[in-house]
């Protein structure tokens, strides 16, 4: 039986009902507009990183809505970052099964299956609890955190992912060889390219308003991400390569520093010898940046092949090192 809404008990757990109870001067254009703002029509955004998104709130229908509006790519990325899926498809290889469990992962603390597509979320009629997208290895201001292949990820808070800048520095001695640092990125608007100090673009996607910038601090090369633009960023992979295309004797440490001076460190000496390697990746998961150790030598090819191996397949190339743009 459906009760009378005018006499129904209040539902403080349903935030949108509370907001909709405000007097409204004009009729809303849609229920979605009411949902987002009780005052006036307001367009919904798929990528809205509300503070509620990652909070387990078992009874709220907001969680269902957020899952339903998430693009399928998000959960694929989440599976990968969370260690629930294998590596992203490489060129020339069939795509791996997305749900392959990886026993080596320390991340997947949840025993429950994760809805792997927006379709499955939509088909779930009753409100479903928000499942954790990834485990919470966190880092606090001033702390140091070591990334290893056994514990490959650390997740920044939305504050750490949105305030100041993120600095990624290759602290390597000349004994390594002529190591140069770069980053390949993909923005939510589809823009994708590389930034590196050794030729190519120093700034991405544009020098007038760079989201990423390659530079040098004293002795070491560095890539900086302007976190005012964090909402634009979908993912980044950090790579290193030999400028002269000679084999590098990997050593040193990749140091990622937050605005609060938290240091995420990735020792490089365990990399197999080679000319190019993907060191780490950064994924923007619902506003939280997940930093993941990759530590993979690319044996066949150069920057282009490293980018393709990690699924950055929207870039057109001038040669095996520099994009065409």
């Amino acid at each position: 039986m459906i009760g009378d809404p005018t006499s129904a008990p209040p539902r403080p757990d349903l935030g949108f009902l509370r907001h909709r109870s405000h007097p409204k001067p004009a009729p809303a254009e849609s229920q979605v507009a009411d949902f987002v703002s009780g005052r006036a029509p307001h367009p919904p955004r798929h990528t809205e990183p509300t503070g509620a998104a990652a909070t387990p709130r078992p009874s709220s229908s907001l969680d269902l809505s957020e899952q339903a509006t998430s693009p399928p790519a998000d959960s694929a990325v989440a599976d990968f970052v969370g260690g629930r899926a294998a590596h992203p498809p490489r060129h020339g290889e069939p795509a791996p099964a997305a749900a392959t469990p990886r026993p080596s992962s320390s991340l997947d603390l949840s025993d429950e299956p994760i809805p792997s597509s927006a379709q499955s979320a939509k088909s779930a009629q009753p409100p479903v609890p928000a499942l954790p997208l990834h485990a919470d290895t966190r880092i606090r201001a001033g702390e140091q955190h070591l990334l290893t292949l056994k514990e490959p990820t650390v997740t920044l808070t939305r504050v750490q992912s949105g305030v100041g800048q993120l600095q990624i520095e290759a602290v390597c001695s000349p004994e390594v060889g002529d190591l140069r640092l770069g980053a390949v990125y993909h923005l939510h608007d589809g823009a994708s390219s590389t930034v590196q100090l050794a030729g190519g673009s120093r700034f991405g996607p544009s020098s007038s308003r760079p989201v990423l910038a390659a530079g040098r601090d004293d002795d070491y090369e560095v890539v900086r991400i302007d976190l005012r633009s964090a909402r634009l960023l979908e993912r980044v992979a950090i790579y290193a390569f030999s400028e002269s295309r000679t084999e590098l004797t990997w050593g040193g440490t990749l140091v990622i520093t937050t605005f609060g001076r938290a240091r995420v460190e990735l020792p490089l000496e365990t990399l197999h010898p080679g000319r190019v390697a993907v060191l780490a990746s950064i994924y923007n998961l619902d506003g939280e940046f997940v930093i993941r150790a990759e530590m993979e030598t690319i044996y066949d090819g150069d920057v282009r092949d490293a980018a393709r191996a990690y699924g950055y397949d929207r870039i057109t190339w001038r040669d095996d090192r520099l994009p065409a743009d």
Binding site: P25, H42, P43, G51, R158, V159, V163, Q165, A213, F259
Partner: protein, 184 residues
């Protein structure tokens, strides 16, 4: 309202259920400054400090966990940015909500609040968008600072008051985070 002035909102307007904090600035065509500014709110307990990083509401975290404070993706009306406060949803342990404006750190192209031509915060009734109060022009007092605590909405004798703070910070958002306990 001048710096330091306060108003008893819920006594002036009985039945006031929530606010819109509207932020307006004019960077005078200084594009990098304009695009680096961030309007944010901090939910503070009785000790004047945030409980966690979740109490910092800004463009990358649009709502506090219980959704009492919410930043709009697009401001409705003449403000540059807006943050809504729903009084009934504010947790009892939250004593005040401080709103700040800061320049996001960008060492290649350093900008300061002193380059602003205008900086005004105003308070609207959440129910009908009616302007209740607005601050004085805060921009003339700025020089090399990169952050400012604009004002605060705080509990007072069972109701809510609003006060213009207008205190600028040389150390930018790092200084504000330190004062208000935001984990960076």
């Amino acid at each position: 309202m001048k710096r330091g002035a306060n108003v008893e909102l819920t006594r002036e307007i009985p039945g006031l259920r929530g606010l819109v904090l509207g932020m307006s600035w004019n960077a005078g065509g200084e594009r990098v400054l304009d695009e680096s500014l961030v309007f944010a709110a901090i939910l503070c307990g009785a000790d004047g400090r945030a409980r966690s990083d979740r109490d910092f509401v800004f463009f990358n975290q649009l709502s506090s966990p219980e959704q009492s404070v919410h930043r709009l993706e697009e401001a409705l009306g003449s403000d540059r940015e807006q943050i809504e406060v729903d009084f009934a949803a504010v947790p009892t342990e939250i004593d005040r909500i401080v709103v700040v404006l800061y320049v996001n750190d960008n060492p290649a192209q350093r900008r300061t609040l002193g380059q602003l031509r205008s900086c005004v915060i105003r308070v609207l009734d959440l129910a009908n968008n009616r302007e209740l109060v607005r601050s004085e022009e805060l921009a003339p007092a700025f020089s090399a600072e990169t952050a400012v605590a604009l004002g605060e909405v705080y509990r007072h004798q069972g109701g809510w008051k609003f006060k213009v703070i207008g205190q600028a910070y040389d150390k930018g958002i790092a200084g504000i985070a330190s004062d208000y306990g935001i984990p960076l």
